[in-house]
Amino acid sequence: MELNGGSVVAMIGKDCVAIASDLRLGNQQVGIASNFDKVFPVNDKLYYGLPGLATDVYTLREHLRFRVNMYRMKEEREITPKTFTHLLSSTLYEKRFGPFFIEPVVAGLTTPTPLDPNPKPYISTMDTIGCITTPKDFAVAGTAADKLYGVAEGLWEPDLEPEDLFETISQTLLNAVDRDALSGWGAVVHIITHDKVITRTLRARMD
């Protein structure tokens, strides 16, 4: 965690969710790259962020891409956020005694089905061995997690529209990572709505 640095935050809005991360990759105090995205898409309604040890970010991402593609081919449908969370959780628990040093955050929207006509926006987060938490408001992880909690607690409110949610999550992330030496160096935000995903790269402090 403290080796490479990096933080991720996700928030629930009104029929939308948002997930954002910083772009720093460091080696302890030395900044190596400012283009290290920690948030990845599964499909156009589901994204996940992997803050933590950078080698495990790549390894886990490649492993999940394989597992999700297998799911897609076997089931002939897209994976739901809830199922994906459990897939990720069990993937992490497989390495119970030699874990991936990653605390994932999942954010997505479930497509309405006859069984579940009005699904709620979904976010979840896990510890390094896959213990799931599904908050109703926001989820934070990474080296700036404690600062993110503070800012998010103050800024978040229920039923934010996509553009308001964007403003809230952006300000939360930027102000939290500015107080963390191991996070920052740029930021990227994804707002997931039922008809589109808005991805924006933020101008951040580069020091």
């Binding site: 080698t55 790549y58 490649e62 030699g98």
Partner: protein, 228 residues
């Protein structure tokens, strides 16, 4: 006590590494080549635990060669970086991990773009325009931050590299000799970075420069009329 740099330019990538080998403060060899050519347009500057370094570099080199023989075209920089990263990532969680840090530089002949990857022994990979490993990071990264810009020509790139080397010589107590290569569309070339105008003797050579200068290139280079 080692130090290596990589810089990308408009249509080339520079790799530079110190040439000392030894243990702790004792230097046992001052002309060790720590840059290995992995194909016609791919090379890496490596460092780390002595023993692991050469063993790993040769392992990578032969695997790149094997891919070239099997497919009749070499592995492009991106896929090569993914393979090397994965090898190191699997190694770090094994019983005997390789302790090797490397800078992978390559020229993508399909898109005519230079590539540079910063990879460490954990399997961390960063795609970067300029990078350093070893003692040099503390002084050279800020030099590169100041002087590097997008789309540098060869002369400008070598200027930046010289500035980095000067900074290392000025700020570090250890004296290093440097060995440097340039990869462009024509392949791998050695550069004598200590000479007054490193580009002059590089440009006067024609054809397969790597061959003339005796750089370690997988032998013999196969030409089957198919390129990547």
């Amino acid at each position: 006590m080692e130090c290596s740099f990589g810089i990308t330019g408009k249509d080339y990538v520079l790799l530079c590494s110190d040439t000392s080998a030894g243990r702790s403060i004792v230097r046992m060899k001052s002309d060790e080549n720590k840059i290995k050519s992995l194909g016609p347009h791919l090379a890496m500057a490596y460092g780390g635990e002595p023993g692991d370094t050469n063993n790993f570099a040769e392992y990578v080199e032969r695997n790149m060669r094997l891919y070239h023989i099997r497919n009749n075209y070499p592995l492009l920089p991106g896929p090569a970086s993914a393979w090397i990263r994965r090898t190191l990532a699997e190694s770090i969680r094994s019983r005997s991990p390789y302790s090797v840090n490397l800078l992978l530089g390559g020229f993508d002949t399909t898109t005519s773009k230079p590539h540079l990857y910063w990879i460490d022994y954990l399997g961390t990979k960063a795609v970067v325009p300029y990078a350093a490993h070893g003692m040099g990071v503390y002084v050279s990264l800020s030099t590169m931050d100041k002087w590097w810009f997008d789309g540098m020509d060869k002369k400008e790139g070598i200027e930046v590299l010289k500035k980095c080397i000067d900074e290392v010589q000025k700020r570090l107590t250890i004296r290093f000799n440097f060995n440097c290569i340039l990869i462009d569309a024509d392949g791998t070339h050695t550069i004598n970075i200590e000479s007054e105008d490193p580009l002059a003797d590089f440009e006067s050579k024609t054809g397969s420069a790597a061959q003339q200068e005796g750089i370690e290139v997988p032998q013999p280079p196969i030409d089957v009329g198919v390129t990547a």
